[in-house]
Amino acid sequence: MNTRLRENLWGYFFIGPFVIGFLAFTIIPMIASLYFSFTQYNLFSPPSWIGFDNFVKMFTDDPRYLQSLKVTFIYVFGGVPLRLAFALLIAMVLNAASRAVGLYRTLYYLPSLIGGSVAVAIMWRNIFGDSGIVNLLLEFFGLDAIRWFGDPTAALWMLIFLSVWQFGSSMLIFLAGLKSIPVSYYEAASVDGAHFFQKFRSITLPLLSPVILFNLIMQTIAAFMTFVPAFIISKGTGGPLDGTLLYSLYLFKQGFEFFNMGYASAMAWVMLVIIGILTAVIFITSRFWVHYESEGGK
């Protein structure tokens, strides 16, 4: 057996599981999903080809779809920047201390650790209840209590707050990034008389920008796919008045409550295209704000 052949055999022996799994659980289902998106299919009778009807219906004849798109965009564009800003702020505050950073880092990470669980969604549901602790706090400060489950906008913000509360994993990534910035840069800037915001703008932000880009992309994709909190907090309805009908939840309902498998598949493909466009836009604009040291900017 010649060496080249033997190398290839060993290579595919090791990565074989990935190749097989990719074909079986990703590429074949994707092709099937693309086909279903052009059909009407309820799982019990064979799919019937209806061309682009599913896609046309989505944008012209399904107000709930447009509503779910709207709340998802508010959730993503409201939640992700807030979450990252928060994560960066706390990371910088923790990075400034020499002691007890380990303990604080752990404690600030905890919400993120448990955030994806059903238990936390149940907890969130209850602290925002009419007589929950959030309203008690608002009243304590002389503000009016909010009926979080009565108003679609308030309910959506309740979900956004839950996602911001879980800033811990982004914070850990920022902390690692901050630690890799040489202290000497800040010292040199101080000697030159730079104040805090100048140092932040000219040192921290540029040197951290690749990490920000990474967090931004991963968090945007994850936020777009959020399911559990909306499912639990609205008890599977997406209510009130479809105010928390996130995209994934509506897709799930179309597929597994109404058994519109064709329509749900079409929704999944539109989701993929939207995520692709968002990622591409972030990447393209990153040329203008992400700083790579190898470019010799220093």
């Binding site: 752990t106 238990a119 936390v120 993929l272």
Partner: protein, 279 residues
Amino acid sequence: MRSFQPKWIIYHVLVGGFVLLLLYPVVWLLMSSFKVSEQIFLTADHLIPDPFILENYVQGWKGFGGYSFGVFIKNTAVFVFITLIGHLISSALIAFGFARLKFAGRGFWFAVMIVTLMLPYEVVMIPQYIIFSQLGWLNSLKPLVVPAYFGHPFFIFLLVQFIRTIPRELDEAATIDGCNTFQIFYRIILPLITPALATAAIFSFYWTWDNLLGPVLYLNSPSKYTVSMALNMFLSNETVSNWGAMFAMSIVSLIPVFVVFFIFQRYVVEGIATSGLKS
């Protein structure tokens, strides 16, 4: 002694105080689980339960449909264990292939793997459901655990990064000693990547333990319910005043997550910081 300077005292009061505020809801959940259900919202502004009762835990543990909460925990533990073993074995093999072996198409498949990292599950969810239903796998763990044996892109990526830091001289020395490729993997690389495997195991545990969508799709009979599903059922059966039991079992569901975190904290924090794994 800079930590005793006034500046640092203020720092610790602010930073410590703020984290207490963030964690307050969890403490509130814990304390409420020891309150009489009817009083939870009447006394929401008092943290300390009066009277302090354990009745909620007894009630919640009874579960529903004739299955105690212990059954749901056992189901989840089995689900987690089978998934975790699959993730570790397959991801280690695949990562070794990508990190160490030269073969035709390596770059292509590595790129494919990176792309699948970002692929939303929703795109494959429906056809997968149809395929698994035609295989007769519904209402079993198979659709949930079998894919784990074909690698997980996050863990493959994490392990590839880790293996690349191991000097190749070790492989070469082993080859001279007569090891074949599999023996290099098994005897040289595998023992050296245990820290990264530990990180992967912990995240596999978290993601599986918290998984709700998968079990909701594939498991129908209460005897097979996982903890996440059971909590969801508690919520949909939520009677006017049974919050106590629901809170109590919510706390129970969080205990393993906290225990694993406090034992293996270092791996969790380093795993996130170095590879961007998110939970």
